[in-house]
């Protein structure tokens, strides 16, 4: 069985549950079975009519592979923004070599040594000096987004496995319930550990410290991560078709809650990081250039370009 066959499995579960419930009803009806079978079948079809509908939303879950290009693009952006030695993605620990192009801006200081005026001072203070910090903070922001995308992909990858496991276990439980053993089974819900929260990484605009909230996919986070990675083992039992299907409904409901919980972890990290960016704009974006307010009449004054030799 596999996720690709989920709706076929759902139909199989429905048919199997109807079969076993009717079989049991016929056995109980004894000699009256011939008269009872139509009513028993109608009742069973009604009792289990909801089964395909329970699986349908899960069959439409996003394809985790579709996140690949987005994650790749974010990695490309991070490579562009990467500076400094031993730069690493704080989520998965992957090394990012420095982009030498970005080293050129601090080097411009020598070009403006003879440039005076307020614009020159502001250019150094507002652009040259904070440039490495801004770049580093933007790199971290790229990591926040890349980690969020990877975490979301992991949620769907694990949710697909879990819903498929619910389906196959339900089929097995239906086949097992009339045998001598107690009909109980355990399921490991892997989606519970899909998203790992990572300790906030401090960023600064030079004056204050702010925290960026990270999440990552459990499969790839660095070892310093916490708050996820495992799963939850849950036990189910049922000795009739109705009881087994009832357990299946509970399992599906749990899985839906688990997915919501994992998505909430991602959403919280994104919301918190967004608030950080909004609240500390200057830590991520250079100030508005002073010259943007100049005009032809005043651009060469001391308030702007001043003069140069």
């Amino acid at each position: 069985m596999s996720f690709d066959n989920l709706m076929a499995e759902a139909a199989e579960i429905q048919q199997s549950a109807i079969h076993y419930q009717v079989q049991r009803g016929v056995a109980e009806a004894g000699r009256a079975a011939g008269y009872a079978i139509k009513g028993l079948t109608e009742q069973a079809e009604k009792d289990f009519a909801d089964i395909p509908g329970l699986f349908e939303p899960f069959s439409m879950m996003p394809d985790p592979a579709a996140y690949g290009p987005l994650i790749h693009d974010m990695g490309t952006a991070m490579r562009f923004l990467s500076t400094g030695q031993d730069n690493k993605d704080p989520v998965d620990g992957l090394p990012f070599p420095a982009n030498p192009v970005m080293d050129r801006l601090p080097g411009t200081e020598t070009y403006i040594e003879n440039w005076t005026g307020r614009a020159a001072e502001d250019f150094k203070r507002n652009f040259i000096d904070p440039f490495p910090a801004l770049l580093s903070n933007q790199f971290l922001l790229g990591s926040v987004l890349k980690g969020g995308l990877a975490a979301h992909a992991e949620v769907w990858r694990r949710a697909r496995n879990d819903i498929d496991k619910i389906a196959t276990d339900t089929l097995a439980a239906l086949d097992h319930m009339n045998d001598c053993g107690s009909n109980d089974w355990s399921m490991f819900f892997t989606v519970v550990g899909a998203v790992v929260s990572i300790a906030a990484v401090p960023v600064t605009d030079g004056a204050s410290l702010y925290g960026l909230a990270f999440v990552g996919a459990a499969a790839s986070v660095a070892s310093s991560a916490s708050g996820g990675g495992g799963g939850a083992e849950r036990r189910f039992s049922g000795e009739t078709a109705g009881a087994v299907i009832s357990q299946m409904r509970q399992a599906i409901s749990m899985l839906a809650d688990d997915i919501t919980g994992q998505e909430r972890k991602i959403a919280t990290a994104m919301t918190d990081s967004y608030a950080t960016v909004r609240g500390s704009h200057s830590a991520f974006v250079s100030n508005r250039p002073l010259l943007a307010g100049a005009n032809a009449g005043n651009v060469t004054t001391d308030a702007f370009l001043g003069y140069s030799t």
Binding site: T168, A172, D175, N178, D179, G181, S237, E239, A243
Partner: protein
Amino acid sequence: MGILADRLDRMQVRVVSPDGHISALLHNRSEVVIAFQPGSYARYSEHAVSDQLSAVARLLWAGRTREYFAALSEAFGTPIAGESPAIGERDRRYRAARDELIAEGVSSDGLVYVGAQGMRVFVVKIADGTLRTLGEGEFAASVREASYAMITDQFAKIRMLKDSCFAGEA
């Protein structure tokens, strides 16, 4: 039907009696076919064949149990070597009652009886004079009938016991 039902339908368990003269096959879930080594049938007494068939029944069910757990492991995708600990009081009650459950089957000619307690203790009884009355093939057919009746009885009683012990579960 799922993987488990398919595999149970196809399951075949073969054993040989302790004295090596009777081979037995359990298939189609509840059908038992026995065959005697050439010349051995005529040498058996009712008492001796009863002992051998009782042992055969025990071996068949032990083999069936092993195969069953292998099938369960495949169906649930995880190794299962035995029953997990009981969940709650009614599960414990069920298991205790199951171990005492008596299942019985008699052949249509009334000459062969197969009984089991908790599918652990097996008793096969052969009416006096049966081996001189029935040919080898007829006797094997009677054993098949009695075994089938006993296994059917076992599962019918298991169903009733489960209905009783787990009534009202959701």
